[in-house]
């Protein structure tokens, strides 16, 4: 008996289901990727604590990193110095880049939109395209010698790292700041002008006030980028695990330690596991940045 055409699936429906499956499979690959990354790095990272029995507390609160000298179950592994350097360098970079980024944002959005959009913004965004190793190279060959000459020390250290990072995150913060300032409803500005406000009063009391929340998000994005940057920092920070005594003494960040050492340690040993723990910390902190951004943009339509 011929099947009734009313009860069979039409070609269109079959085609549609096919396409739908194809698309959902690609999304699933992406989701699987995120889950695997978190799973792999975590399972490797907690081995320092589960297999090598390093205490979590001492790992997070001591600053010495001696993988060689292990005696009597006592370990000398602490990530405090690395984490401190990472945070200090990042914050310093953000503190340097943020005011400049906001000023450029104000210029492009409120003062000279035409010229700003045509020339200033593309020039700033030119920096976005430059690879991080190039910043590292410039830091190494130009910045470090200058710092050595004027501030003493070897030139390697937090100051060099922060300056390079500031340059790297300047375009990130600027682009986002421009976007958020531009999203301020122009009718508010017109309203303020009709009340007799000067240009600066409109900028300060209207544009900056209204976009304040988004500006904070812009800065957090910049900070997150700086925190995860590896190679450029690694080239100028000096790579010695110790609490920095000054801005020009060699030290190391989470990322620089990972970059330098992961290839030099043997898989499965304590020195190697400890590095994966650093990777886990890095992963958790960047996920935390994500949550903070999420918290800030909660009420907004577009995220």
């Amino acid at each position: 008996m011929e099947p009734n055409p009313l009860f069979t699936r039409s070609k269109e429906i079959r085609q549609d289901n096919w396409g739908r499956w194809l698309c959902y499979i690609s999304v699933s690959i992406l989701l699987l990727l995120v889950v695997t990354i978190i799973y792999f790095i975590s399972s490797k990272g907690i081995q320092t604590f589960t297999k090598n029995h390093v205490s979590v507390w001492s790992f997070l609160t001591t600053a010495d990193w001696n993988t060689g000298t292990l005696s009597g179950g006592k370990t000398d592994l602490g990530a405090l110095a690395l984490m401190t350097t990472s945070f200090v360098t990042t914050m310093l970079a953000a503190a340097l880049a943020t005011p400049l980024a906001f000023v450029i944002g104000i210029y492009v959005v409120a003062l000279q939109p035409k010229f700003g959009q045509k020339f200033v913004q593309p020039i700033i965004e030119l920096l976005l395209g430059i690879p991080s190793v190039v910043y590292g190279f410039i830091g190494l060959t130009v910045l470090v010698p200058i710092i050595r000459q004027h501030f003493g020390g070897t030139g390697f250290g937090i100051l060099a790292g922060a300056l390079i990072l500031a340059l790297m995150i300047l375009p990130t913060i600027t682009s986002l700041a421009i976007e958020s300032m531009r999203s301020v409803d122009p009718s508010y500005q017109k309203f303020a002008y009709t009340l007799g406000c000067t240009r600066w009063q409109v900028i300060y009391h209207v544009i900056l006030r209204i976009s304040a929340k988004k500006l904070v998000v812009a800065v957090i994005y910049g900070v997150a980028r700086a925190f995860g940057e590896a190679l450029a920092v690694q080239m100028v920070i000096g790579n010695t695990v110790q609490m920095a005594t000054s801005l020009v003494s060699p030290t190391a960040t989470l990322t620089s330690k990972l970059t330098t050492d992961i290839g030099n340690t043997i898989d499965g040993t304590l020195p190697n596991n400890a590095l994966w723990t650093l990777a886990l910390i890095l992963l958790l902190i960047s996920l935390a940045f994500n949550l903070i951004v999420k918290g800030f943009t909660k009420g907004d339509r577009a995220a």
């Binding site: 269109e12 992406l30 995120v34 190793v133 190679l231 970059t259 992963l283």
Partner: protein, 290 residues
């Protein structure tokens, strides 16, 4: 001090700061180009690094990895973008997926590189190779590409889909024949922009594609030979990794000169990519909304 004076002072301060920053950036980029300009010539581009001043194999590796990465990442990104913007626009699944993609895009590239090292080099034993590098770069590229493709598709009015339904064709048919062609300008510029990012990436590659560039034989088309340029299982140092490697380990006599030349090649390529993306977007826009 009255408010007009404050206004004037603030504005002049802003002008001064912007002028200084722009001048410094131009100086910085100009310095980079000027320093390496004299190094770059045909011989520099076509000599193997073992034979003297040259980046032939690194340049080829960079391009080879870029092409493989785009081949791997474009279909997945396109499928995900369609699923997120059209099929599951308001579903719970899509919002979870969007969050995951956001998280993935904000992960440091060194984390992607280490994950690639763990999964591909240690677990699957592919070794430091072109293939590992291309897959790691795909991981790195996927979230960004998916986001830009989603944006491009979202600009197409949803009335196209309704029209398709009223004509009795499948939604898939409408997507392939109407929505995607309309979204192509945005997608192409997204792809080209991401290509620039991939081209300069190093942190994701040092522990996946490796840090050595064996001399390649460009006449050997047998992809299973270890010196064939097409062999996907050989280690492949790219331009960006080359710069890093030259300046961190065993600084040779020519390290600085080679780095400066390589930087010029890298930056000019990336600027060309970005320029192309802008032009393509512009060109296509005119074509469609003529």
């Amino acid at each position: 001090m009255n408010r007009y004076l404050i206004d004037r002072i603030c504005r002049w301060l802003i002008y001064a700061v912007v002028a200084t920053v722009v001048a410094l950036i131009l100086l910085f980029v100009g310095f980079l180009i000027a320093k390496g300009w004299s190094t770059v010539n045909w011989q520099f581009l076509t000599t193997a690094s073992d034979d003297g001043l040259g980046i032939r194999d690194q340049l080829f590796n960079s391009l080879y990895l870029l092409i493989l990465t785009l081949i791997l990442s474009c279909p997945i990104a396109l499928g995900s973008a369609i699923a997120l913007t059209i099929y599951g626009e308001k579903s719970r699944f899509a919002s979870v997926a969007k969050m995951a993609i956001q998280a993935l895009s904000s992960l440091p590239s060194i984390i992607i590189g280490l994950f690639g090292f763990l999964l591909l080099v240690l677990k699957f034993k592919i070794g430091f190779s072109v293939l590992s590098g291309a897959i790691a770069l795909t991981f790195f590229n996927l979230p960004i590409l998916t986001q830009s493709m989603s944006l491009a598709i979202a600009t197409v009015p949803s009335s196209r889909l309704d029209a398709g339904i009223s004509l009795g064709v499948s939604q898939w048919h409408t997507i392939i024949k109407v929505v995607l062609p309309e979204a192509i300008p945005g997608m192409i510029s997204g792809i080209v922009l991401s290509a620039g990012r991939v081209f300069g990436e190093a942190a994701a590659l040092i522990y996946t594609a490796g840090q050595s560039a064996p001399k390649l034989n460009y006449g050997n088309w047998n992809i299973f030979d270890s010196n064939s340029f097409l062999n996907p299982l050989r280690p492949a140092e790219t331009l960006a990794v080359h710069i890093w490697k030259l300046n961190t380990e065993s600084i040779g006599p020519d390290a600085e000169v080679i780095s400066q030349g390589t930087i010029v090649v890298l930056i000019l390529t990336i600027v060309a990519f970005n320029f192309l993306a802008r032009q393509l977007a512009h060109h296509w826009q005119h074509k469609i909304y003529r």
